[in-house]
Symmetry: C2
Subunit: 463 residues, 2 copies
């Protein structure tokens, strides 16, 4: 993109984590002067601070964003494809639930490694500078002013044209936007926490597993000693013990306290043309759809697309970003929370597996009309909120369909029963078949129901 | 209270507004060393910074708190009793809705004046120091550390045993608590804003009126010029114009932009034994029940009562304060939001006035059993959440009662109709009267349904 005609504006990206460093690449490509302020030391030098999940799932949306800055292949080559969820029964039986079709997979990615690659990519742009060990003390978006504290411990005031808050779930930039009128906000912790454990490599190979135990905090509080932990695992996850190792398990379990999970929602992602939030700073979500990073990366991509569309005009792009992106980020937040409930309650139920199989079957028959929710979310860029609406519609259709086929079978049986009886007029049985014909001619199965929200909404209100 | 046996702990009260200065008095009485940090200059010297509502309604809860520090009479003597709401019709007709009985009234109080009195009261305690012009930069509750910035512009670190956040709806203390795990939080702006106008004194008297116009922001945005404003008032509030004066109205209307109103909820008011939030910092509410200040003052009183009960043990009092007070502050938040809707939609409806009259009648008949919501909230210290539950119950009883009397009248008419016909056995008509007797003997009207939440809940689930 040739943007030499655009005056070089100064942009401060707060946070050099995954979303911050990716965003810096996007903005650097547009020839802005980009300064990234990261509170921690350079992750490429320092030992990695544990706490947040070390393992992430990269799917389509995240890959598309990486592709746009030319990093997709490099990152994908270092990921491990994951094609299915493995369910371990208490008796040691294993069953898989594929994430998508045979050719579809999500990628297991190390947070640390991805961050290192992104930072290296950022620093290749001559118009970017990354300041590590620089903590944001405060910001005044209306004045384009930020105050950062570096290693010299002297607060420094810096002016800029745009502040981009990519500083995570506990964003400092956001706390300043929260003081602006009409900025609605909510944060909610779920009752579960998580602990990460490692299955070490076997037979001299370099392949480890990261295991995450999600459990209510009140249950974690009952596991106080090493023997509590071993008893617990013997009871609920017996087949994991030989893989992790009793000693490692009892030790690793207490390395870190169980980590909380927060869900954050904002009614706006921007302030005038001066400040914008992306990633967890704008919409931290619970991790049960594996979309936290992907949604954050797609934020950057959507913003980049808007900058293309509106010729880098921040006074249009920022409000547009809020308008366009908030329904989507709120939708993935809802879906992640739904998955939190679903994974907890239904993943082992036969009805859930039956539904998954019906979804797969319908998708195979009508690949562009009926798309499983997981596929829309993880293997497409269908807007999250459209995926949510489409999913509601599909659930309704499946329910109606099951009811319809149930009725059909009942009528069929009656018909056969009547056939086996002496002949008599069957006029009254014809109506249901008319209805079938009707059903197929309606707009219930439009060629591409995802074309527009309006259409989807119409179908839903019609259904 | 003699507390000379208690080691003198150091308490930092953040905010020297209404709740902060009242709280400092309560804490000073307990012989703590109290330092109050207020970002603004001394309101007794500086010109008052406009912005927040200048007029407040003091009712029973606030008065009880002032009484506990010996200030009630002094403050009350300077307030103006308000006994009823005046409704002005478009045609100039006026009707009143009393707030309570003839002897009950709330008091109109000037925020500035009240704050001055409270600050003067605070400074009479030798163990209190108020630091004006000191802004809280940050706090680390777990270390008992606050950083403040005074007029010398050099950040100062101060240690203390307890941080009391009384720093208002946009509390800085709260932003630090929000980073603690399991701290759920929400803030929501309502679509309405307000503008304050003044009716000047007449005939050389010293009696002015403060008028507040509440209106959706989108309506405010339509009033751009002085003539827009005058047209608007001529159309909707014609009788206010001669009182305010056309010129003053057109001028004052644009003095300040319409002010937003926020509703804030927290899932906890404290952090360990190190930090506690009170007043708007803990629960900013919309002003439509006139309880913002009263709820904040009652916070201080409840905390003081807990300190009595648990012998100043902060490690018990702080969690107890959250446990006891959160249901109440959430209840008054809900009630204020309900009143926002009610005042907007129903205050002019005949049904609303009819309900108010029924409530007053029932209260006159059964003063301890049936108490109008406004009376429970403004003229008692019935816990807010119990008032809410009691109110639900009362509404249900009234609804049932109206239905019952309606049925009774229908049956009575039928009875009279039948009487006027040739005589026949009337056995089947006796049952309803049995039912009346039954009704009066049930626990539906317990002697004092407010005694405990459990009882109230039982009655409700029974009803």
């Amino acid at each position: 993109m040739d943007s030499s005609d655009i005056p070089r504006k100064k942009i401060a990206v707060i946070g050099g984590g995954l979303v911050g460093s990716l965003n810096a690449c996007f903005l650097a490509k547009r020839n802005f002067q980009v300064d990234v302020y990261e509170a921690r030391q350079d992750v490429r030098m320092a030992t990695f601070a544990r706490g947040r999940s070390i393992n992430l799932a990269l799917s389509y949306r995240g890959r598309q964003a990486l592709k746009a800055i030319g990093l997709e292949d490099q990152i994908v080559s270092q990921g491990i494809p994951m094609r299915a969820r493995m369910i371990h029964s208490l008796l040691g039986r294993k069953s898989t639930i594929p994430y998508g079709t045979k050719s579809q997979y999500i990628l297991s990615i190390s947070r640390e490694n991805l961050n290192k690659h992104l930072l290296t990519a950022v620093e290749k742009y001559p118009n970017v500078k990354v300041y590590f060990g620089h903590r944001l003390l405060k910001c005044s978006p209306e004045d384009g002013l930020i105050t950062v504290l570096g290693s010299d411990k002297v607060p420094k005031d810096i002016t800029c044209d745009l502040i981009v808050g990519c500083d995570g779930a506990h964003s400092t930039v956001r706390t300043h936007l929260m003081k602006k009128p009409h900025f609605d906000y909510s944060q909610q912790y779920i009752p579960h926490g998580y602990v990460e454990l490692t299955i070490p490599p076997k037979n001299g190979e370099n392949k480890s597993f990261t295991c995450t135990l999600f459990m209510p905090f009140e249950e974690f509080e009952k596991l106080l000693t090493r023997s509590n932990v071993l008893d617990f695992f013997h009871k609920y996850f017996p087949d994991s013990i030989p893989l992790i190792g009793e000693q490692a398990l009892a030790q690793d379990f207490f390395l870190l306290p169980p980590q909380p999970m927060i869900s954050v929602k904002c009614s706006s992602f921007h302030f005038k043309s001066h400040c914008v939030l992306m990633g967890d700073a704008a919409h931290a979500i619970v991790p049960f759809f594996g979309q936290g990073m992907n949604a954050g990366f797609e934020d950057c991509l959507v913003f980049d697309e808007l900058m293309d569309k509106f010729n880098n005009d921040l006074s249009i792009c920022l409000p547009e970003f809020s308008r366009v992106r908030i329904p989507d980020d709120h939708a993935i937040s809802e879906l992640s929370m739904y998955n939190y409930i679903e994974m907890r309650a239904h993943v082992n139920s036969p009805l859930f597996l039956f539904q998954k199989n019906i979804e797969r079957l319908l998708h195979a028959i009508m690949p562009s009309t009926f798309i499983p929710l997981y596929t829309m979310v993880s293997f497409s860029r269908i807007r999250y909120h459209e995926a949510l609406l489409q999913w509601y519609w599909q659930k309704k259709v499946v329910k109606k369909g099951l009811f319809f086929f149930g009725t059909l079978i009942a009528i069929g049986s009656t018909y056969l029963l009547i056939r086996s009886m002496p002949p008599r007029p069957l006029d009254y049985l014809r109506r249901p078949w008319d209805w079938v014909a009707n059903f197929q001619n309606t707009t219930c199965f439009p060629a591409n129901p995802l074309e527009s929200l309006e259409q989807t909404l119409k179908v839903i209100s019609w259904g």
